[in-house]
Symmetry: C2
Subunit: 382 residues, 2 copies
């Protein structure tokens, strides 16, 4: 496989975009990415989206977006893996260029969640319908069980979990595209409405409309077009049982460890070689579990790592400098691409007040459901 670069990015404001359609926001992000990359054509388009059907009654989103971009007959493919749809879109775009099939590919992600749909029910279609959802559980409940197990097994405290939200809102306050730019306190998290014990409102990522797009190309094309870009040094993926109850442990996400182990093996990197990471904090507890599963600390110490500042912007390994899903927002199909955009901005020194010093290698971890699917992408500054 040949090397692949990321040479352009585009993203919409994340939030409640009542005056825009799913097509409007995808096209906005895609055109920004095309402008940013200064390219005059695209060979192929990938669209990550979780449920165009349940959220807005529109499937066939690859063709829809190619059409509304004015780019038909360019090949366009929609990729879905619940909340990891963006990461999977990026992975397929990577393979398309790495194989030599395409030179320049647009990988996008989009979700329009605020359009009148029953969002909790639509999101629950990422869990096991027959054995989980039918029995009444949805994602806040599933992640609450993970949180309870982690608190029981590792003495993780409610305050440590809340500290994830506080850190991510602080980072997000410096992200102009974030849905929530207000800073919050531990007390505010602990006093917010109970959603699924122990998780409270400010432990949960919000319901978000948004789109994100990046341009991938071969290294030859990248070198002609740009002096300052990032290259993809690993793009891996793994799966796990769809239902939480089938796992040996609630506090280790096998899809994360498997995809990460492969990415480290392919690159020869250790976790300590990663300068910063975007991880899938759909709920605060998820960031703690994933941080541990990526090997950034010993199992059980993810909570204290946050409180001690290890994951802060100026810490040993800054996590979710974008604000993460918690503060930036979580338009599910777009999230994986938005993570790649944060990596790209950090690695090219364009992250402004969120800039990580000496950022050379960044990792993005995107997952679906309660971790039944996971992508890991590692990018390096060129």
């Amino acid at each position: 496989m040949r090397e692949v670069a990321v040479i352009g990015t585009g993203i919409t404001k994340f939030g409640e975009l009542w005056d825009k359609s799913i097509k409007d926001i995808f096209v906005e992000a895609a055109l920004k990415a095309i402008d940013d990359a200064s390219i005059d054509h695209i060979d192929s388009i990938y669209v990550g989206a979780m449920s165009g059907g349940l959220f807005v009654g529109q499937e066939h989103l690859g063709a829809v977006m190619a059409d509304y971009l004015g780019m038909a007959p360019v090949p366009a493919t929609r990729v879905e893996s619940a909340c990891a749809s963006g990461g999977m879109s990026f992975k397929q775009a990577y393979l398309d260029v790495a194989s030599g099939n395409s030179e320049i590919v647009l990988a996008g992600g989009v979700e329009k969640m605020n359009d009148g749909a029953d969002v909790t029910a639509a999101l629950a279609s990422a869990a096991d319908q027959e054995y989980e959802v039918y029995n009444g559980i949805t994602f806040p409940g599933l992640y609450a069980m993970i949180a309870n197990a982690h608190m029981y097994e590792y003495k993780t405290t409610r305050e440590q979990i809340a500290a994830v939200a506080v850190k991510n809102h602080k980072n997000g306050s410096n992200n102009p595209n974030a849905q929530f730019r207000n800073q919050i306190t531990i007390e505010q998290v602990l006093n917010s409405s109970l959603v699924a014990d122990p998780l409270r409102l400010l432990d949960c990522s919000p319901v978000t409309d948004g789109a994100a797009a990046v341009i991938l190309c071969s290294m030859d094309v990248a070198k002609k077009l740009s002096k300052n870009f990032a290259k993809i040094i690993a793009s891996t993926q793994a799966s796990d049982s769809i239902a939480l109850y089938q796992r040996k442990s609630f506090t280790t996400l096998n899809a994360v460890t498997k995809a990460a182990d492969l990415a480290y093996k392919l690159t020869g990197l250790k976790p300590s070689d990663i300068d910063f990471a975007e991880v899938h904090d759909c709920f605060t507890i998820a960031e703690i579990v994933v941080f541990e599963d990526l090997g950034f600390c010993e199992k059980g110490f993810g909570g204290s790592a946050v409180v001690e500042g290890m994951t802060s912007l100026d810490g040993k390994i800054p996590i979710n400098t974008s604000g993460g899903l918690k503060s930036k927002g979580h338009p599910v199909g777009a999230t994986g691409i938005a993570q790649i955009i944060e990596l790209s901005e950090q690695l090219t020194g364009k992250a402004g007040k969120r800039q990580v010093k000496n950022a050379r290698i960044g990792l993005a971890q995107n997952m679906g459901g309660s971790g039944a699917s996971c992508t890991i992408n590692i990018l390096e500054a060129v």
Copy 2:
């Protein structure tokens, strides 16, 4: 890109499978394909499905199927392009092997349409929600407009269109997995219930449950495992406007011509070099339009080609020897893979009473919506 082979196939009975779930049927087809290929592992799984959300309330179908196959943590990705989801799943699996990322990949497709969902509304999510569906049109109406235009422009007759259904039911009568194995007459088609003028019930493919899977691998692996297999010599794809009204012509499908032109260019083949083809006859008129757009006859002569026997099993270029979508059934996400299976069976001499004599090169054309997306795959006997 390296060469890729198809070394195993598996398919369920197509029909109303009320006693089986979407997971049951996918696993059945996948295990048959794995058995058929005599392989002991898989590197990656692709699942083509149009709308797990709207049909059965289950998205995240890549991870779901990997799990129910007992294959987690194998990477699993769902690909969607409405009724071309199967063809797209195959294309992404092809790129995965061609790139060198994987050695052995399972490409499957599935749809469970008989599970209580509003099927016509769910299928309509493949059309333009805002400008088509909102105004009351669904697919029978869209294809009826194509039929009317073709009858007006080319003097195509109602009887010629009906002859497609008659031929495909005749072929399907020899396919043990077909939903409808009864033969029908022109008169029966012309006297069946009117659905959308001029299309009648027997012009329409049915609502079907079914799954199909194939195993792709590198040529090195194929040569070790099998003496009798097919290789993929082109896998192309194109898009068109999502809405029919935006096209210059209703009687030419640009996504078909563009994808086919590229496939012919890549292989150096002419349409006359193709020995047989599976094409997307979601409605009878579609087979006629696609037959013309693939270059098998001059534009406007697709209707007479059927009546004159050119597309019959013993004709110059047999079309839909499997029975096509009309007789075999059309579980939308599975259809593109089922087409590949028919190609594979014909090219390895396993098609029984449907066998095309001296079949060396077969083409599969799978499309989404009213032709807004199209895949072309050309396979050659080895």
